[in-house]
């Protein structure tokens, strides 16, 4: 089957085109701001899916990649005057390397022990970064307005960052899709089902897990670098916010873990819900309540999420919505 006849390819390209085109053609800044956050959510959820959905390891502290990527990115762009794109790429490489190192330690743990360790890592990194004076300590780093000049001033810089984020969103979806279809992905699924059996079958769990843990940090780190470049300021509490980690898990459950479209659709729906509730003074208080009830219902009654549920009702769609 040739690549061009795969519905998934066109779904991903279509999503990217819609995201880029809808605000792009009208110059609609408000729409762009909304979709920017949605795209970030999709990036976080679909990379987290590689760990939770594919490998069965619950990473509760996944936001550490995003935050560290942001710190490296801001540090390179402001302190060392790097252009944005190389800074983001180097930030992602650094974060993936660090993740590989962390992974070798904590991936020896299974189940809830692993989950606790990921929370511990996020908190340890947050506390540590709060004490690094070169990174501004607990008050973080501020970008000078002049960093936007090479991109044609702040207004144009915001558009450029937006399109870059859409690119990373697409890359995240393609990455999820390719891994899902690869032999490597098959190994991950085997680990998810039964780690001991997988190693008997010739899969090397320690290696596979460390690699996927490191890979799942790469694109979120790039997204973090872009996000905080746009943000103009980076602070430990904002960069390593456990709520964002857990929200990514909620998104994944909503759409359906283990599925490429599931992660994306879940992130999209959750983020729309969040931004609708954000500014209504009555409901902004209840955002967490509604999200919590939603999550509980999914966990108890539809553990496959939206895509899993669709797949059960219309088995033919399963081939399209991988």
């Amino acid at each position: 089957m040739s690549l061009l006849r795969q519905p998934m390819l066109w779904l991903i390209l279509g999503a990217m085109a819609l995201f880029a085109g809808l605000p792009g053609f009208g110059g609609d800044v408000a729409l762009r701001e909304g979709l920017f956050l949605t795209a970030i959510a999709i990036i976080l959820a679909s990379n987290l899916n590689l760990m939770i959905g594919y490998t069965g390891y619950v990473n509760f502290g996944n936001i550490v990649f995003f935050g560290l990527g942001g710190y490296f990115g801001v540090w390179l762009t402001t302190m060392h005057g790097w252009p944005l794109v190389p800074a983001a790429i180097v930030a992602a490489i650094l974060v993936s390397t660090i993740a590989l190192f962390f992974g070798l330690g904590i991936l020896r743990l299974r189940g809830s022990y692993f989950t606790l360790a990921t929370i511990g890592i996020n908190e340890a990194v947050r506390a540590l970064v709060s004490n690094i004076d070169a990174w501004g300590g607990s008050t973080g780093m501020y970008l000078s307005v002049s960093v936007y000049q090479p991109l044609g001033g702040p207004r144009q810089a915001l558009w450029i960052v937006y399109f870059l984020v859409i690119g990373i969103m697409g890359a995240s979806l393609f990455l999820s899709w390719f891994i899902r279809r690869s032999k490597f992905g098959l190994g991950l699924f085997a680990i998810r089902e039964d780690e001991d059996a997988a190693s008997v079958l010739g899969v090397h769990p320690a290696l596979y897990k460390s690699v996927i843990y490191s890979v799942s940090g790469f694109l979120p780190a790039m997204a973090g670098a872009l996000f905080f470049f746009k943000n103009g300021v980076i602070q430990p509490d904002q960069a390593f916010d456990l709520t964002m980690s857990t929200e990514a898990i909620v998104m994944l459950m909503l759409g359906g873990q283990g599925s490429v479209t599931g992660a994306a659709v879940g992130a999209f729906l959750y983020d729309q819900l969040r931004s609708t509730l954000l500014t209504s003074s009555m409901f902004s208080q209840f955002q967490l309540v509604i999200a919590g009830i939603l999550l509980l219902l999914i966990v108890l009654f539809v553990p496959g999420g939206l895509i899993g549920w669709i797949g059960e009702r219309w088995p033919r769609l399963r081939r399209v919505l991988e």
């Binding site: 939770i52 069965g56 619950v58 509760f60 330690g105 904590i106 020896r108 743990l109 189940g111 809830s112 022990y113 989950t115 606790l116 360790a117 929370i119 511990g120 890592i121 908190e123 340890a124 506390a127 540590l128 709060s130 004490n131 300590g137 607990s138 456990l242 857990t246 898990i249 459950m253 208080q285 209840f286 955002q287 967490l288 309540v289 509604i290 999200a291 919590g292 009830i293 999550l295 509980l296 966990v299 108890l300 553990p303």
Partner: protein, 287 residues
């Protein structure tokens, strides 16, 4: 030198309260292998329980702990029935998420009712001054209550039928059922007990420090650290772990800036988790 000793004594007093909170978490883990992510929310509810019973109804906060414990127990039963019972046999992700979902609901509703503003129990007990350092009465009373509650729990687990049944289920659920122990009911009681302990610990913390509806999450993280120090699933270890954490906090603060304390705590947490997943005090620790 006196400063270091004073600081360590203060740490121990506080550590007893950390220990009590962690017992609630570790009890649930030991009996049903579930990490209760409503723990922090229930600590916060315990704070508000004591606050409202004391500030609005009147009376001593220590008396208010009793109704708070009962309410905590009832809340625990409800949470168990709603979110835990159905996922107990499923992969850990499911119980993590279902308890986390309830946590979101509680925190969200709490934020809506009480906002995230600071609450403060206007309460002070005369303390003891030694070499210029003062140990406040509230700290000493809180530690005493924590130790008494932990002791009572120990006696309950050792010497009552229900306590023995809980330990039997923790040890081996199938075997316990074969012996005629209704494991479903025992699990619910154990969960509720763990939640009630969290609420009581929260109530004690409210007598010491101001708090918000979000304060629980910080103490939940501390409970994780304590549980890992003492060994997941080991209630006696949790109390020792709490005292140890208090001692570490008190022992290091005179020498380094306070902002480094959490770094030490969490690095220790991750390292111990990797090296001794069964806790520091487990005999023949193995993975």
């Amino acid at each position: 030198m006196f400063g270091v000793i004073a600081s360590m004594v203060d740490g121990l007093l506080l550590g007893a309260v950390y220990g009590l909170a962690a017992i609630g978490l570790t009890l649930i883990w030991g009996v049903m292998n579930i990490i209760n992510l409503t723990h922090g929310a229930l600590i916060a509810l315990g704070m508000f329980g004591v606050y409202f019973l004391t500030a609005r109804v009147g009376g001593s906060p220590y008396v208010a702990l009793l109704p708070v414990a009962v309410l905590g127990f009832v809340a625990g039963l409800a949470i168990y029935g709603l979110s835990v019972h159905r996922v107990i046999a499923r992969p850990p992700l499911m119980s993590l998420l279902s308890t986390f979902a309830v946590n979101m609901v509680i925190i969200g509703a709490g934020t809506a009712f009480w906002s995230t503003s600071i609450y403060n129990l206007p309460f002070s007990v005369p303390g003891i001054t030694w070499q210029g350092f003062t140990f406040t009465g509230a700290h000493m009373l809180a530690a005493a209550v924590a130790v008494v509650v932990a002791g009572a729990l120990y006696l309950f687990m050792r010497h009552t039928r229900l306590g023995k049944a809980i330990r039997a289920v923790a040890n081996n659920r199938q075997a316990a059922e074969l012996m005629g122990i209704p494991s479903g009911r025992i699990l619910a009681v154990a969960f509720a007990l763990g939640v009630a302990l969290a609420a009581v610990a929260g109530g004690l913390i409210a007598t010491l420090f101001p708090f918000t509806v979000l304060s629980g999450s910080g103490y939940q993280l501390k409970s994780f650290v304590v549980t890992v120090l003492g060994g997941l699933g080991n209630p006696a270890g949790a109390l020792v772990g709490g005292l140890l954490l208090g001692l570490i906090e008190g022992g290091v603060t005179p020498f380094i800036a306070v902002s480094w304390t959490p770094v030490i705590e969490f690095v220790l947490f991750v390292l111990i988790l990797i090296a001794f997943p069964k806790g520091l005090f487990a005999r023949g620790a193995a993975r």
